[in-house]
Amino acid sequence: MPDLKADLKRWQETTLQRTLDRSPERKPAFTTDSGIPVKSLYTSLDAPSADYLESVGFPGEFPYTRGVYPSMYRGQLWTMRQYAGFGAAEETNRRFRYLLERGSTGLSIAFDLPTQLGLDSDDPLAEGAVGRVGVAVDTLADMETIFQGIPLDKVSTSMTINATAPILLAMYIAVGEKQGVAQAKLTGTTQNDILKEFIARGTYIFPPEPSLKLALDIVEYCFGQVPRWNTMNIAGYHIREAGADAIQELAFTLADAITYIEKARERGLDVDEFAPRLSYSLGCFRDLFEEVAKYRAARRLFARIMKERFGAKDPRSYLFRTFSGSCGSTLVSQQPLNNIVRVTMHALMGALGGHQAIHTACWDEGYAIPSESAAQIALRTQQILAYESGVANTIDPLAGSYYVESLTNEIETRAQAYLERIDAMGGMLKAIDSGFISREIQESSIRYQKQVDSGEKVIVGLNRFQEEEQAAGTMELFQVDPAVEARQRGTLSALRAGRDQNAVSSALAELDAVIGRNENVMPVVIRAVKAYATVGEISAVMRRAWGEYRSPAYI
């Protein structure tokens, strides 16, 4: 379009320039939150319509830029899935019922750190951590209580669990069986993304190779037995929270996905057998348009990787299905009620970005486990957006915005360049092992902090528009019952005293043998949890076989 180009130049040099001569722009340069340069105006020159069919297309069709399903939210709204869990099983059961009664449409379990790290509540290393950042689960009995009165064929459950994912999934299967729900009917997700634990989140136990083996045991087992289960939620969310920018978040998530897919194929699985059950997670950060463009770029880049790199044939393998959530690091402790507004923006990004499930954070979670009322506001935020704002009335409403299309292309190009660098290093495992990924994230994190220090990045209430700090001591904060640790230890020792010790010992011995033969651990782990073997006991067998990983400390 030669006319447009000439006309744009004329506008810049005359109309715009006359104004700038009188009053310059607010800043010498504008960028997205991740540092991509932003022009003052975008036109069709930045997003040529000739590329539309190839690069944008239609929802539910390759390359899925506009959405993974043909009807998107007109068919079914996103799942409103609030992350919750604290204390002992009874407390978490109560919070889950509270959320379900108020219209939550999916559950998301937060486990405490001992459960995530394969330690029982009476382990000396667990002291002070039982029931703190999530619910304490030692045995199947705890899981039964969490789901008391919640039929597993009526709800889908996402579990933020990684190193010990096979054990917790085994418990979920066993609870289903006790409720009369066959494992083939269970729906939900195990996060089961161990690579990002090494990069960003830190709850790994075993070295990378056996960790990957365990992750793939779930993939393999579910393909045959739990076909509706999302076996992995490959997460960029935590990578972003560790300090990565939007491009790194996307690139490293895809690099992790590529690694899992390659490893699964090495095991002899066909890509179209397992890829349709992989799911993904990306964070909702600060910059609305950058985040929406990131989600759109993610769908397109992933579909191309699946088709071109892995030769997937089943269109379900191309779908970058996502659970997105508020990035907690964008929340601010100062003037905390402002976080409700930030979280509204997160939900808006998620909805405009076409996610399948959304978690909205609670305004008080920078201080403590969220209170019931804060949890209710977070859920209501999604409901207001879904039912009042009109945002769900049409598919991918920002498509065709010259800016958003241009940003989508730019993010895809930059993420692709990262993937090529990682390939050149010999793949993601090597890139992690060499410290490259940690260093890249660390550099971004420091760059971000310096921009906050200088005031270049404005955080309302923190480095601008501050108030005399109100006494946070006067806030109504939720407090986990301090007696929970002792209570949980009591429950555990009573359970140990009452179970069939022979059944436990024989299941654990069989687990050891299965590991020795390098077979899939899922069937024997299910047997062990049904015998009420503990998370710590099962993990101890694995620790003995594989050892523990100690990460080098990069600073």
Binding site: G128, A242, A472
Partner: protein, 138 residues
Amino acid sequence: MDSMGARKIRVLLAKVGLDGHDRGVKTVARYLADSGMEVIFTGLRSTPEQVVEAAVQEDVDVVGLSFLAGDHMTLAPRVIDGLRQRGLHALVVLGGVIPQRDIPALEQTGTARVFLPGTPPERIVEYIRGTVELNPGT
């Protein structure tokens, strides 16, 4: 020793307990190192005993502990008691998600200062420099 012969301030930073969120502690580490201090980071999931041992071995002036998982009331006193038993009078500072209501009790049991989310890292640098240089040998 730098060229002036003055001893550099030595700081040990640690994640005690099971939490793996290390963005904050790594940020502080970078700022302290950039300001000329010697910084040792013990990595994730250190036990109080390991932190005490490392602090004694490295003869540090400051021990900084990062807590984001609510286990500070159990673990911080253990580190402080361990340091005292070994006769190391290092300044102990805490950072992370720590409720206001816990701060008086922490300060009474030997924590010199608690830095909450949003604290500019430079303020931590200034505090450590000011406190250690004013009280050499404490």
